[in-house]
Symmetry: C2
């Protein structure tokens, strides 16, 4: 993973609303309208955030008729672990 990709992922994580979205998705797939109920933002703003989260590969989407279903990407954990290892080493015992 190159620096540009790392920056993209870290930027995606650097917003409280997007962190809340990820927390909501931890329990499993959710559709956009459900996310919208729990966040105090407008629908276009949510759409914007979901685009950033999907573009950096942390979130997957599934289109089902009119609805968009979002979920944490399978390799999201691995991606962030790779960042940790790259800059801070393998173990927490330095």
């Amino acid at each position: 993973m190159n620096d540009r990709e790392t920056v993209k992922i870290c930027k995606a994580l650097a917003d409280e609303n997007r962190l809340n979205i990820l927390r909501l998705l931890r329990n499993g797939e959710l559709c956009a309208c459900h996310l919208l109920e729990d966040l105090h933002i407008t629908q276009p703003t949510l759409s914007h955030h979901m685009k950033l989260l999907c573009d950096c590969g942390l979130v997957d989407y599934r289109k089902d008729g009119k609805w968009m279903h979002y979920s944490i990407a399978k390799d999201a954990h691995a991606k962030l672990s790779a960042v940790t290892t790259e800059y801070f080493g393998e173990e927490e015992s330095r």
Copy 2:
């Protein structure tokens, strides 16, 4: 670790110059003037980046006369691991 703190850490990681600084520090403590040689930025810009990295707790500093020595914080790995766990779970096998 609350969301505001997480955002602060992720913002600090969301810049290529700062990622390069962390990579340089992986081999051990370095003084600001040495960092400056390897990065194509001015001294005030480096000072700005170091402030962000120190303020979020990823980097430690030690003042020695005129020189500032920077190093990766002891718990930097643990901090980023905590972020990973908080939003993406304990294991990579979901």
